[in-house]
């Protein structure tokens, strides 16, 4: 008797999990629907909790500064132009890294997707290179290319490379064989097949990779600046920490956060513009 019993427990369990998953996803969905309207309240709650933490713990400013302290530090840093200067440095590293990483990864990904031989030849190296944490090679890049822009751009590019590469390969491989047959039967040129079939068909998966890449690039820049730099938001964090100017650290962290969110938002906007045709079906299912 124990076997069917446990089996029925098993299926019950699965059923429950499925229901929970379903309810959770619909909950998340309705939360997102209401999220925008609730934003002022959640923000107020967040700031309230922050203040309470400082007061309740009797924390000193260099451990956890109060929100108003961070705000006044922000006004100060924004006022003397230093925040903007450092932000622009980091932003150019991020954008440079994105452009470099995305273009190399897309090109290589396309070639790998089209050529089994090339993939078999290169994929062991790509996987091996990916198992080295970027943080670990960042010092090397700074030694080789100096503490300036180049080393940071390279670190960003490296960190962005893999998700873009993989998503390009997956996207291009997933183009339906029947549509390739259609293009062949219509005697389309390679170029026409590329632009009219492969690009639009691979775009959803590719842009999914770009979402990840955009936020990773910001991490890459900060990692690079931690290792060796004399400017940038990562550098600013280091300075703030060294001088017990924790409010400055917070200012830099928030700026980085907004930068990453902005880039992510740009990609989402791009998806919205380019993938209008699948808006209805997949916005809720494909979500990184």
């Amino acid at each position: 008797m124990s076997v069917p019993l446990s089996r029925s427990y098993g299926s019950d369990f699965l059923l429950t999990m499925a229901t929970i998953a379903q309810n959770t996803s619909s909950l998340l969905y309705s939360l997102r629907q209401r999220g925008v309207a609730l934003l002022p309240f959640t923000l107020a709650l967040f700031i309230f909790l922050w203040y309470s933490l400082v007061w309740a713990g009797d924390l000193r400013a260099f451990i956890l500064p109060t929100p108003d302290l961070v705000l006044s530090r922000f006004v100060e840093a924004a006022g003397d132009g230093s925040l903007l200067r450092h932000t622009m440095v980091t932003l150019s590293e991020v954008l440079g890294g994105l452009v470099l990483g995305v273009s190399v990864a897309t090109l290589l990904g396309y070639l790998l997707a089209k050529s089994q031989t090339l993939e078999r030849l290169l994929s062991p190296y790509i996987v091996a290179s990916q198992s080295i944490p970027t943080v670990a090679i960042a010092p090397l890049l700074v030694i080789w290319f100096g503490p300036g822009l180049t080393s940071k751009v390279l670190i960003c590019a490296l960190i962005v490379f893999f998700p873009i590469l993989i998503n390009t390969i997956v996207g291009v491989r997933a183009v339906p064989a029947d549509l390739h047959d259609l293009m062949r039967s219509l005697k389309a040129t390679r170029w026409q097949t590329f632009w009219l079939l492969e690009v639009p068909a691979a775009l959803p998966v590719f842009l999914g990779g770009l979402r990840i890449g955009a936020t990773l690039a910001v991490i890459g820049a900060v990692v690079g600046e931690f290792v060796g730099a004399d400017r940038g938001l990562g550098f600013l964090i280091n300075v703030g920490r060294g001088e017990y100017d924790t409010a400055l650290v917070f200012v830099a962290v928030f700026t980085l956060m907004f930068m990453a969110m902005g880039l992510y938002g740009l990609v989402v906007l791009l998806e919205w513009r380019l993938l209008g045709w699948q808006r209805r079906e997949s916005q809720e299912t494909i979500n990184y």
Binding site: D178, D181, R184, S185, L186, L196, L197
Partner: protein, 258 residues
């Protein structure tokens, strides 16, 4: 009717490589199709009908044998040959009219002419007003009609159709069959159409080829001598029934008695 062969297949064999010695799908298939003939291909599921059509379209090189179109050995897809795939095979990011226009776009036809011609065909397949609808918002039958329009827009001499009415309901199916007959007779086209509907084959075709189970051979090559134009009523005549019976027997559909 002019019966010089527009298409001839000789000794076509196709074997797909797989782990246990290859899957033999087509077995020395030979036939000739005269210009402006309407030929239907019947056969059990999985017998190789789609494979045969892909070979005729130049999409798949046969393992043996050759296909000639207008006397020329086939080496790849040909101008003047259009294919309707078994699934509608539309581009999901293109609207109905953009899908229909694709062949013209690839040929570099200017936008104005392309719009005019795709407009005509949208009307013809009964999708007027659906120009800007995306494939995801079409029913299966509507999608198939778009696929038919996309083939017709190329104004092909030879139309290869793989179960083009597969997901249509009986009524629409008959309607589309009638439309196809009209296009075929007015525009001097040659049609090779795969179907699994025996009555449809008898109603539409000049000639029906019946394929056997895998590996597919031609087990019956039947001329349907029913005068044209064929009226709806022809479906209920004894000779029609006799053709249908012969075809059913050749396919090997077992008698079902209740």
């Amino acid at each position: 009717m002019n019966h010089s062969p527009i298409l001839s297949a000789s000794q076509l064999s196709t074997t797909f490589q797989n782990s246990n010695g290859g899957l033999h799908v087509l077995d020395k298939i030979s036939f000739e199709i005269g210009a402006q003939q309407f030929v239907c291909v019947l056969g059990p599921s999985g017998s190789g009908k789609s494979t045969l059509l892909r070979v005729l379209a130049g999409l798949l090189a046969p393992s043996q044998g050759e296909v000639k179109i207008k006397g020329q050995a086939l080496t790849g897809p040909q101008n003047g040959v259009a294919m309707v795939f078994q699934n509608a095979n539309l581009m999901p990011w293109r609207s109905v009219c953009q899908n229909i226009r694709l062949p013209l776009e690839l040929d570099g036809v200017n936008a104005k002419d392309a719009a005019a011609r795709s407009g005509e065909l949208i009307e013809l397949v009964g999708l007027g007003g659906f120009d800007d609808v995306l494939p995801q918002d079409l029913s299966g039958g509507m999608a198939q009609r778009v696929a038919i329009a996309r083939a017709l827009v190329q104004d092909p001499d030879l139309l290869l159709m793989d179960e083009p009415f597969g997901s249509l309901d009986a009524i629409t199916r008959d309607q589309m069959g009638g439309e196809l007959l009209k296009i075929w007779s007015v525009h001097n086209k040659t049609v090779v159409m795969v179907t699994h509907d025996i009555n449809e084959a008898v109603y539409l075709a000049d000639r029906v080829l019946v394929l056997s189970d895998r590996p597919a051979k031609i087990v019956l090559d039947l001329d349907i001598d029913v005068p044209r134009p064929r009226k709806e009523q022809v479906r209920y005549t004894p000779e029609f029934g006799e053709f249908a019976r012969q075809l059913r027997e050749a396919i090997g559909g077992r008698e079902i008695s209740i």
